[in-house]
Symmetry: C2
Subunit: 217 residues, 2 copies
């Protein structure tokens, strides 16, 4: 796995965000419209032709393969292709994940028609996808890198489409393992809880903080 260094300034990062962010937002809007439209077949066919032309214009100059995970020399991250948080990835809601001083990681977001599974509800797999990401962010919030070993979801009740909240935090450390717990909630409380075991790579084990047990939340 190779991370990509892009030798650009913070201003150039801002400029690119202002160019690509709105484009991806329009595609998010389009995804929703394609699911919900009831216009005549002729309008759909014409829309398809117009979209095909736009795709062609964008592909006139493009990178090979996927976007990768890029950062500047100053350490500004540009995970813009990421399926959960990617600014340029219309599949991503995108989640905006906040890290708090106590190690808690939170995200507030709204899921619409594109994330449906059971009628009117978020697909259980989408909940799993978002929890995987939020727990992963919480797992590395102490700046000791780690990868996901196992991840267990408990589905308490259906998650209605609409405004939602996710959060996670490290609750225990044991050698090279960190236990992370988190949940997705709606206005009435938790709908899905998750527990993950995250593993610190061997060559990082020496710098693990004291194996202090953090009280479970």
């Amino acid at each position: 796995m190779q991370f990509t260094l892009e030798d650009i300034t913070a201003d150039e990062v801002e400029r690119r965000m202002a160019v690509y962010g709105p484009l991806a937002d329009t595609v998010r809007d389009l995804i929703d419209a394609v699911i919900r439209t009831e216009v005549d077949e002729t309008v759909v066919t014409e829309a398809n032709a117009r979209l095909t032309a736009v795709v062609e214009s964008l592909r006139a100059n493009q990178i090979d393969g996927a976007f990768g995970v890029r950062h500047t020399a100053e350490g500004i991250g540009m995970p813009w292709g990421n399926a959960v948080i990617g600014l340029r990835n219309a599949i991503a809601p995108p989640l905006q994940v906040l890290k708090h001083p106590d190690g808690l990681v939170t995200a507030d977001f709204t899921l619409g028609a594109a994330y449906e599974g059971p009628p009117g509800c978020v697909h259980g797999g989408v909940c799993a996808m978002l929890l995987d990401h939020v727990l992963g962010q919480a797992g590395s919030a102490d700046d000791v890198p780690c990868y996901t070993g196992t991840l267990k979801m408990r589905y308490l009740r259906p998650t209605r489409l609409g405004p939602l909240h996710a959060e996670a935090i490290i609750t225990e450390r044991e050698g090279r393992k960190k236990i992370v717990r988190g949940a997705i909630s709606d206005a009435d409380g938790e709908t899905v809880t998750a527990e993950g075991v995250f593993i610190v790579p061997k060559d990082w084990a020496g710098v693990m903080p004291e194996s202090a047990r953090i009280p479970p939340r």
Copy 2:
């Protein structure tokens, strides 16, 4: 949760699939192009304006809210808004899930730039999302409905973007519980395994098959 009956013929279902399927496929192509494009800012801005106009044309007549889960009077399913298998949902790869006579459920699919997490690799949360769906389908392959209780993923190694295979099967039954096991694999073998506990609703418990233990695979 309400399922929706649409009083249409099998021919009309086919006609709609031929109208909306290609439109969503073009949007999938567009999502990829938006991640990978390197065209000039003016082309991006123009593309955004053209897409906005297409969205407007599609929204001229649309349903309220999400698509729901629809079926015809003959029992043809139209889960076209589904985030994993939805024909009309450009977020969905979409997975085509096959049910085999022995209860095994399989899907072969290719994931590109839109499903990236670590550089060149599938987002771990995307693996979780797809496994949630495939295990759920396997869990109800015996025609006894069930919902997901818990789902545990074990990440063995990174999953490279590209052609992949997923499968799942019921391995044990115990009262109202079904244990389902499955995995995602690439050409070199399994990358993520999953185990789910699925629960049969109370009013269905009477029709559960004999609590025969199926040999684990």
